[in-house]
Symmetry: C2
Subunit: 449 residues, 2 copies
């Protein structure tokens, strides 16, 4: 999420400053925060980006790179820098940010970067690279403020000041024992407020929430959100403190998960970048459309089967598109509400059952209401009350099917461990198309011929 | 977002403990964090909730109420408590949480609660109630840690300790001058690390990001996310510090905004509560379905117009459902990607233009690919290459229209200041239905008859 509004004038100013020479450029860039330059980068070409990164002090250059949007591919910019500059920047980056960026590169590129680093940096990043990107291990930073539980107030403050030299921000102080086993957390405020001779062991909060490195990122985000935490500790199976995940990483995760939900229920592969080019978009969407074509053939075979009926009552061709279309939209409504609800809350079996029952009721009422409108239309326009009845029944039936499948299918998928958002509108509308055509054409064959 | 997994056994245990008596209940409840009890409340009935709130100390009771999901309606629980208990709880709540909850009540109920409060509390909450719920003013808390810029290190620490007695958490210390004008922020860490005789004026960061009370909540969320802030100050037009919005409120805002996007593009009113009952769901969705019915009639009138053509070539009835259905799904794909992109980023005119161009290209390629499959089918199955050609052209044309409208309509809406997500799949599929039918039936009339 980016809020700094880039004017054309900003881009123009920076591009001109690049031409005007480094002294001018430095002065112009001083007006911007690193995260703003990261956004400006979206409008600059690769060589301009490199020029700016090479010009600025490593500290700012690394901040820009860490703030760049994933879709702007900071890893490519980083890789194409002079190896010395590259090494400087990687060593300046937080371990988790460096790992995130490097993980996007090919194996041989990763190796090339890691070889130039000091052994400490390289081994730390190599270690972080082993964790799945979408787990607490993949999100965590190993840099944190940590004090021994046996320290006194004064020693703890000295220790915190010493450790914080290297860190720009910290929110929570972690407490461990002599074996590096995680014991709890303590706030800087509580240490300061404590009596002069207080010990950390008296101040530590021992019931702190924590996660393991293989905890799914969605679970990490849920915990941070539920307990309003600025950071959450990551500990291994022996209770040793490995790192922490901070709230800002979680904000990014939540954004990405919501994007995934929206894309998936709309039949777009979750990997499609929002600002990707047409090649990516075709790759991501064509497979879904071809699946949809298959299901559309299935639905159209129902229509073919009833060709003789349509030939006798041509207005059925018009009405059947209404029934199928309405069913598709009602199913999409039920799907969106249910998928989002599953994403945000865990539903018990009873709640799942009630959800389907609710959508059944909603389908029945909305179906009858719309069915009545179409009935009146058929009565006055086509002058055929029996045709009206057929359409009324088909509409009601199809909207009930829409409700049951729109809510039921994602709930079943969740139950068997599949991402419920995969039950995209493409899958759901297959049911409403097939049953919609079956209902109207089948009923018409029985009641009107 | 809630992560604590409620077992049936938890609910069972608590319900039993209520029956067993208050002593047992107290012991059972001690096992749970307040935010966990808030989730348990979703499974308890109103009288059980009241029983627990009355039993627990005010501090915990108020935390439970502040952690309850909006959809569990904490305001009703609060209002139905004994007035004394209610007053105790409201006075214990943070001002912003109290305001959020009270704002959900009817005017006369609000009045009744506010009358019992101390004048300080009542006027603070009355003031916060005046701000729009979806702005920085509506989200902000007036309790914060604030020091005068002229203080010395020692006096500042004393002041911070004094002010923090009342506050459980603070992340940033705000700095003001003698006129309460906002000057910047300072971190507790920097104060502690400073030399003994340092003054706040030497430590303050003056380029802090801030917002005004009428800043939209989405903008607030964007700034907190962009600059990785734990909190952001809210100042009035005279630069006076009014309050702060914290990251945890913003996490809730982002979740709500994403839910809104998902519901709207699926044709569900943004006000529908995910766990609402069927009455709410009907109210929220029926109007959209009736709009859809109107647009479906429009599309079906195209079919009616070509009734004679369909009568002559009945297989067109089957193929036209495929063309319209594929167009609808392709449009939904383009819509989802575009709406989400507009939500997360500001697009320039040039980017908007390029987006439509990209979707045009994607529609052309996906349309031709799927058109070819249908052509081959028509060739072998119906033995009619000219019919195949008609379908190929209609498919390609309709998927191009899907791309242009799916991307173009939300971009135009954004441009004229309307929420782009309102361009729901219901609106977009009108175009693909009408043009889909027009293309296949019109081309068939020209080329096949």
């Amino acid at each position: 999420m980016q809020s700094f509004e880039i004017d054309k004038s900003d881009v123009f100013k920076v591009k001109n400053a690049i031409l005007a020479g480094d002294e001018t450029l430095k002065i112009v860039l001083e007006e911007y925060h690193a995260s703003e330059i990261a956004i400006l980068f979206e409008r600059l070409d690769k060589s301009e980006q490199r020029h700016i990164i090479n010009l600025l002090p490593t500290e700012i250059a690394s901040e820009i790179i860490s703030e760049m949007d994933e879709e702007s591919h900071p890893e490519n910019l980083l890789f194409e820098l002079h190896p010395d500059k590259r090494t400087e920047i990687v060593e300046e980056l937080d371990y988790d940010d460096a790992t995130d960026i490097i993980s996007q590169l090919e194996d041989h590129e990763q190796k090339e970067i890691l070889e130039d680093l000091t052994e400490d940096h390289a081994s730390e990043i190599r270690n972080l690279l082993t964790y799945n990107e979408k787990t607490a291990g993949g999100l965590m930073n190993t840099e944190l403020i940590c004090v021994n539980i046996n320290l006194t107030k004064k020693d703890a403050i000295d220790e915190i000041i010493r450790q914080s030299e290297e860190m720009e921000e910290f929110y929570t102080i972690y407490v461990v024992d002599d074996d590096e086993v995680f014991k709890g957390i303590v706030s800087l405020k509580d240490i300061i407020k404590a009596k002069h001779n207080a010990k950390i062991t008296e101040l530590v909060k021992i019931d702190a929430v924590y996660v393991h490195p293989d905890t799914d990122q969605e679970e990490v985000a849920n915990l941070i959100s539920q307990y309003n935490l600025t950071s959450i500790p990551v500990i291994d199976q022996h209770q040793k403190l490995l790192g922490r995940v901070t709230f800002d990483d979680v904000i990014d995760v939540m954004e990405a998960e919501s994007t995934e939900d929206i894309l998936k229920i709309s039949g777009v592969s979750e990997d499609e970048e929002l600002s990707g080019n047409w090649v990516e978009a075709v790759k991501s969407r064509l497979p879904w459309l071809i699946i949809n074509l298959g299901t559309a053939f299935l639905a159209s075979s129902v229509v073919r089967y009833f060709d003789p009926t349509i030939k006798l009552i041509p207005s059925l061709a018009a009405y059947m598109t209404i029934i199928a279309g309405m069913g598709g939209n009602a199913a999409t409504q039920a799907l969106a509400v249910t998928v989002r609800r599953i994403s945000l809350y865990d539903l018990t079996d009873k709640q799942a059952y009630r959800t389907v029952l609710k959508e059944f009721t909603v389908g029945l009422i909305n179906g009858a209401a719309n069915g009545l409108i179409v009935f009146i239309f058929a009565f006055f326009f086509d002058g055929n009350p029996m045709l009206g009845l057929v359409i009324f029944l088909a509409m009601t039936g199809n909207l009930v099917i829409a409700g049951i499948t729109g809510a039921g299918i994602p709930l079943i998928l969740k139950r068997v461990g599949i991402d419920p958002a995969i039950a995209s509108s493409i899958i759901i509308t297959t049911f409403t198309d097939v049953f919609g055509f079956l209902l109207i054409l089948g009923l018409a064959s029985k009641l009107l011929l």
